[in-house]
């Protein structure tokens, strides 16, 4: 693992990116989006962002003040192909999923049943989402199967 750089969100705030970045670029897809979209995600969540180049992908770690962690995994070309999250509250998936959110919604809408509110598992050919956990302990994973780089196993992503 190479040295990573640490970029606190206040630096982005100082550049005036809050609000304007969100308002002007909500369609800059995140899941499936480029490296710039990762910075937008971080700014939106007022979070700290740490990026680390790995052998087959780039890891962007976003940590909010309340302790929710989001990991975004990008191809060497910069396209986000997977997300994982963990924390006391779930992250804003509409933000993180970008243009995939509508797809997620239509798949999710038929999946809710009493007694089964601790998991939502969607496995479509073009989108996999596993949203799990209970109050004060949420975690999950989402990825786009055909964007996963060769040699990368989603289950092993840190």
């Amino acid at each position: 693992m190479k040295p990573s750089y640490f970029r606190p969100a206040p630096a982005l705030c100082a550049l005036g990116l809050i609000g304007t970045a969100w308002l002007s670029a909500p369609a800059a897809a995140h899941l499936g989006g480029d490296a710039d979209s990762v910075a937008v995600d971080s700014t939106m969540m007022r979070a700290q962002l740490r990026s680390t180049p790995m052998q087959s992908y780039q890891l962007h770690e976003i940590t909010t003040a309340s302790g929710t962690q989001v990991h975004e995994y990008a191809t060497p070309q910069g396209t986000v192909f997977a997300l994982t999250w963990q924390g006391p509250l779930p992250p804003n998936l509409r933000q993180l999923f970008g243009s995939y959110y509508a797809r997620y919604q239509s798949a999710a809408a038929t999946q809710t049943r009493p007694g089964m509110h601790r998991a939502l598992i969607i496995a479509e050919p073009d989108l996999v989402v596993q949203s799990t956990g209970h109050l004060r302990a949420f975690h999950g994973r989402a990825y786009i199967p055909n964007l996963v780089p060769a040699g990368v196993t989603v289950a092993d992503l840190p």
């Binding site: 007022r46 804003n92 998991a119 975690h139």
Partner: protein, 445 residues
């Protein structure tokens, strides 16, 4: 497959009736005992009963009529709510007893049907606004105002408790904000049928439903947003809502934590149920752990939980570090790709969320608390397709969990785990029987 029918009827009712649900009945304080429980147990239900002023009935059955028996393995009790400081009260029956959440939530339709009106909580920072809450679930959200009530269960009283009203019928003027529908899935769970219950009594291992982040947000570096907060200040005239901090004492809280005594946790006691299932089961929800002669810890295995209320389970060589014991889950949910799932059809699209092994499976898992205590649990999984439509209690229903990953793999020990056991749930920040919560403990009964 037996349970297709239940789900079809459930969906049909939703479409036709808007998922409303009859609640309970108004009463004066003189009749405020939990007599409103309507989940009748029939002849083949087994029962076990503790007695005392710290005990209420815990009943597994079909649930509220409005949900039409749409699923199974849901435990209910009755809760009395009163206008604070008054004897104007109502009993809400068929409230789901949930060890996987924290705080009392009542469907607005059930409250309406009871005849009791509770005042919305005024925002202490803006007298023209009221407080509302967006509660996240893995598969959706609930939305509705926060009110205050005196909550009674048998001899126990939680005075001036913040209670969340789930707005299942546009009773609350402020409609759900976009920031609420952007967490997880934007699927609304605001209905009796979504929970198969008139409300949810969250008696899990925490006191508040949110905790520090909702109380402390609002600074430059930690603004109140969907990453830190679930509470809103809403102007019901303009229908505008904004995130707001809410103090720990004003948050929606586990009612048990507010009891004068018996406030360190609960015990869920359910009798054993045959592997073939039965129509229902009757047991006890006991308040307090090691506070009275009827709630001792005895030789129960104590598994202390982490900051998220979870412990470690080892199953099939997988280490699952976010495992929990959840009476609000109707099956044992764990990942095992060797067990076939049931076949989904257009009539029952959720069948693949359950296991359908060709013959009964005997399995085991080992739990480990933060305290290092380990405990091996034996369990059986049978096919959902063999469960009778009229059986609402089954100890052998299982289903898949999300595959193992480096973030948050879990074994969800749902209601099947509870049959034949006394399950203790001790609250974070309290000591119960000599051990500090949060913890889970259990022992065969």
């Amino acid at each position: 497959m037996s349970h297709r029918y239940r789900w079809i009827v459930l969906l049909g009712l939703c479409a036709l009736a808007g998922c409303g649900g009859g609640g309970g009945s108004s009463s004066s304080l003189g009749s405020a005992s939990s007599s409103g429980s309507s989940s009748s147990s029939s002849s083949s239900s087994s029962s076990s009963g503790a007695s005392g002023s710290n005990v209420v009935a815990l009943v597994v059955g079909p649930g509220p009529a409005a949900a039409n028996g749409g699923t199974f393995n849901i435990p209910y009790t009755s809760v009395t709510l009163c206008n604070p400081g008054t004897t104007t009260c109502a009993v809400i029956a068929n409230v789901l007893v949930d060890s996987g959440s924290y705080g009392l939530r009542i469907m607005a339709s059930a409250l309406q049907a009871s005849g009791l009106a509770l005042p919305n909580t005024v925002d202490p920072n803006n007298a023209s606004n009221s407080i509302a809450e967006c509660l996240p679930f893995a598969d959706g959200y609930t939305w509705g105002p926060v009110t205050v009530a005196d909550v009674r269960m048998n001899g126990e009283l939680a005075s001036s408790l913040s209670v969340n009203i789930i707005d299942d019928g546009s009773y609350y003027a402020a409609t759900v904000p976009t920031s609420c529908t952007s967490i997880n899935s934007s699927t609304s769970l605001n209905s009796v049928s979504a929970f198969e219950a008139n409300g949810v009594l969250g008696v899990g291992v925490f006191d508040q439903d949110c905790g520090d982040s909702c109380a402390e947000c609002g600074s430059v570096n930690s603004p109140c947003n969907s990453s830190s907060d679930i509470y809103y200040s809403c102007n019901t005239t303009t229908n505008s809502c904004a995130f707001t901090p809410v103090s720990l004492t004003a948050q929606v809280r586990n009612p048990v934590a507010l009891f004068a005594s018996d406030n360190n946790g609960v015990i869920l006691e359910l009798p054993g149920v045959p592997t073939t299932g039965q129509t229902g089961a009757s047991g006890s929800l006991i308040f307090g752990i090691a506070t009275q002669s009827n709630n001792g810890l005895g030789s129960a295995t104590v598994l202390t939980a982490d900051d998220f209320g979870n412990f470690i389970t080892t199953f099939n060589g997988q280490t699952l570090d976010s495992s929990f014991i959840d009476s609000g889950s109707n099956g044992l949910f764990f990942a095992d790709s060797s067990i076939p799932t049931c076949t989904s059809t257009t009539q029952n699209p959720m069948a693949n969320q359950f296991y359908c092994p060709s013959s009964p499976l005997s399995l085991q898992a080992t739990n480990q608390g933060q305290n290092g205590t380990t405990s091996t649990v034996q369990f059986e999984i049978t096919s959902l397709s063999s469960l009778s439509d009229t059986f609402y209690a089954s100890p052998t229903i299982g289903g898949p969990a999300a595959p193992s990953s480096t973030l948050g793999s879990y074994f969800d020990f749902g209601l099947p785990f509870f049959y034949g056991k006394n399950v203790y749930v001790a609250i974070d920040g309290k000591t119960a029987g000599g051990t500090a919560g949060p913890y889970y403990a259990y022992i065969a009964n």
